[in-house]
Symmetry: C2
Subunit: 226 residues, 2 copies
């Protein structure tokens, strides 16, 4: 990210028409700002029922942000524009834990407790999990991690994983996201950056890796087993 | 969501110029499709270094999707377009757990184990957590839950929460997201839909509520304490 550009967030309430995003993107591009994230939902109740809610994160230079907001408010289909803090300031880097329920819960136990110690000192590390079963289902979830916003490390927690899941692990690592695997049957441990026997320690290592304050660097222990 | 419209996902690799989203949104709007989510990142290494990666989810009618992909590929700054399954098919409804580390970990233990039982039967319930400290920090995180994609229920896990956090709980509930609180000091339990003493049971209740297969309905126990 350009250091002169700050990440900003806003919520826009607008009529639910298919051209509204084009109009908003046109105004934002006209201000030289770069949209990084949009999420759109339709209100199904309340005063805005049937209207669209767009949550946007964008990079903006030090120019007049109030002017951008006014130009957005001037779009005919736009009803309300409100600024927020971006998700990254609130939920921070994400540790993703995927695998069998029993082990995912134990890795989460280690990761949440370690994240607590970091977040007390001002970090914002979140720990996101999904228990799943089946090679195809797991491989799809692993592959999707590289597309998840703010995903910073993946822990695979199970007793046997291989085949398509190992190929997905390779792709996640190529996308720049390190992978920790529990010691388990199957080929996944051979494809991971680090193999850990104790699930609680695996969770702690994962948080130490994404922390901006800890001294742990997974590159220095790559290929090792604990 | 319109039942005639299917939720689709694609990844577009394009030059990192501020007008590229406008061009893509124009093509998509021209096909009558409705963009629901976009996430944009810049590759910092690899063959696409410096280029933008746009992940999009959109609703599209039963018309020719291949035609849409071809029209997107024809945009000058676009290098690659690839279709994926949307996140909702992979990670499903999200249970969000916020609070103190010790309690967040125990609620996650209950939620992950219960989600495992549901996901084995074909659901895709994920359990996302963040341990935090401080009234203002917690209130910001609680408020942001209503803007998180696929967030379906919130569990507040702590020993004392009130003030600004209670106001944020009201806003999350107004946005249609039910809130479970552990039994604790402070006013948050008075503002929650349900108060639960055992953190593991709180996690189980949360998953039962978001499940499409369980018979639990938080509306039928609203205001009760377990």
């Amino acid at each position: 990210m350009d250091t002169e550009h700050e990440r900003c967030a806003m919520r826009i309430i607008a009529e639910n028409t298919s051209g509204v995003l084009r109009d908003i993107a046109t105004v934002i591009a006209g201000h030289g700002a770069n949209i990084l994230m949009i999420n759109q939902e339709i209100f199904d109740s309340g005063p805005y029922a049937g209207m669209g809610e767009l949550y946007l994160e964008y990079e903006h230079g030090p120019e007049d942000r109030e002017h951008l907001v006014r130009d957005l408010e001037a779009i005919k289909s736009v009803r309300d524009v409100k600024s927020f803090q971006p998700f990254g300031d609130i939920f921070g880097s994400r540790v993703i834990i995927i695998g069998g329920g029993a082990q995912v819960a134990q890795v989460a136990l280690g990761a949440v407790n370690e994240a607590d110690r970091h977040n007390i000192r001002g970090e914002r590390i979140s720990v996101d999990t999904i228990p799943l079963v089946g090679e195809r289902t797991l491989a799809l979830a692993v592959d999707a991690v590289s597309r998840l916003p703010r995903a910073s490390i993946l822990v695979l927690a199970g007793s046997i994983m291989g085949g398509e899941i190992s190929n997905a692990v390779d792709r996640v690592r190529e996308a720049g996201i390190p992978v920790i695997a529990l010691k388990m049957a199957g080929t996944v441990p051979e494809h991971a950056d680090l193999v850990v026997t104790d699930p609680i320690q695996a969770g702690v290592f994962a948080v130490m890796q994404v922390s901006s304050k800890a001294v742990f660097d997974i590159k220095r222990v790559r290929g090792r087993e604990f």
